[in-house]
Amino acid sequence: MEFTDILISLIKIIVMFVVVLVTVAELVYTERKISAWIQNRIGPNRVGWKGLLQPYADVIKLLLKEDIVPTAANKFIHTLAPVISIGVAFSTLAVVPIAGETISMFGREVQMVIADVNIGILYILALTSMGVYGLTLSGWSSNNKYSLLGGLRSSAQMISYELSMGLSVIGVVMVTGSLQLTDVVTHQAGWMWNMVLQPVGFITFVVAAFAETNRTPFDLPEAEPELVGGYHTEYSSFKFALFFLAEYANMITASAVITTLYLGGWQVPYLELLQLPSGIVVALQILAFVVKVAFMLFVFQWVRWTVPRFRYDQLMDLGWKVMLPIALANVIATGIVILLIS
């Protein structure tokens, strides 16, 4: 590894960080706007043009609050938990490719992905299951019954949905024949998106992704009416902001992964027929990726303000008795079809 390689990686990481942070801020804004529109309100429109600076005002407000650590809390883990949450949320994005063509930088062909590891899918699954530690540890270390319940719920929920998530992805792996995300995307050229090839897997994956990101209808770990704030009841100021950030960053990650695995990633159908110069192609591919991710994010928020929260037993029923069998059946069906075709 030479210095230039490190430099290029650093640049990519910093760009990703900044983009994700800004997107998170604006996601908070769009979330409030969409909820307002669905409830026939207007939403924030005072801070900045059309209220666009509202999330920054919120962040400043949060940072100016006092940071309280409960006396009975385990201080080290209490501080560590939000860091785990946010770290996991960000690092998953490292393997997501955002464009197919390479661009040249410092005399090298640079791929539009931070780390093109050949076990990308495994990496994503491993890291998302790490995310549960952040929530569980925060619930446990706060020494508060509501937090503990929230943490427990999140671990139970995430473990149940992890399974069907993994099984849905197996369908994609079988179709692609590779665990590398760049291969997965390349394989979905034209309209051969995995959403078309794997409709059932797509649905189970999206549902599991909702559960993994703790979004409504699966936001039981932070069910306000029952658990005060859930796992982050005892958090304030910057640590609370980190959890908040992690939730939205997780949403971005989930959308990016769904896009990559099922919506064709950066693929623009029939773009190669136009014979465009590679710079424009890269730009278009990034644009396609961003549009798809933005659409998924919109769907996430749209669903949140449409569907009420599940009851806990319903959630478990759905995970184990419905999602898991469907995902398993999907794997078997995919296997049979592949066998018949080849």
Binding site: W37, I38, R41, I42, N45, V303, W305, T306
Partner: protein, 165 residues
């Protein structure tokens, strides 16, 4: 007492699949999302009350700059909240008496409109003003200087009163 029996609603196959029902719900919320909102953006977009609206009571000022009030004290007498204080004095004008001091305590006023109803001269009427902000108790006691309002501004209310009283 008989135990309450509740018919259990059994879901059909399609409803059990959740997804079609969720899509239906999403269609509904999308409809709400694009609907025109009825919100009035208040400080920029002010509401203009109709003539029947009872806002802050004010004194009518004729075109010649003199108030109509003859300081009979009826409004002060009728006010259920004891918000009005009138002090009469003599004047060379045709009406002979005028209020030397006329104060309405806006913190006491309950906007009942009795003062307007009882006034024999149509001298005190309810204006369409609904924005009243004070930072001090003293500021809330409005004297004659603040209460006097040109008759043109109160024309709709005066016409409304003629018609309906």
């Amino acid at each position: 007492m008989q135990a309450q029996t509740q018919d259990k609603y059994t879901l059909t196959f399609w409803e059990k699949l959740y997804i079609p029902e969720i899509l239906k719900g999403m269609k509904l919320t999308f409809g709400q999302m694009v609907k025109k909102k009825d919100t009035r953006e208040y400080p920029e977009e002010k509401w203009i009350p109709p003539a029947s609206y009872r806002g802050a009571p004010v004194l009518v000022q004729e075109e010649n700059g003199i108030e109509r009030c003859v300081a009979c004290g009826l409004c002060s007498r009728v006010c259920p909240a004891l918000a009005i204080e009138v002090q009469a004095a003599e004047t060379a004008d045709e009406k002979e008496r005028y209020p030397e001091r006329f104060e309405i305590n806006m913190l006491r006023c309950i906007f009942c409109g009795f003062c307007e109803e009882v006034c024999p001269e149509e001298a005190i009427v309810m204006s369409p003003t609904y924005e009243m902000v004070f930072t001090d108790y003293e500021d809330a006691i409005l004297g004659k200087d603040k209460l006097l309002t040109p008759v043109e501004k109160l024309r709709p209310r005066l016409e409304f009163l003629r018609e309906h009283r």
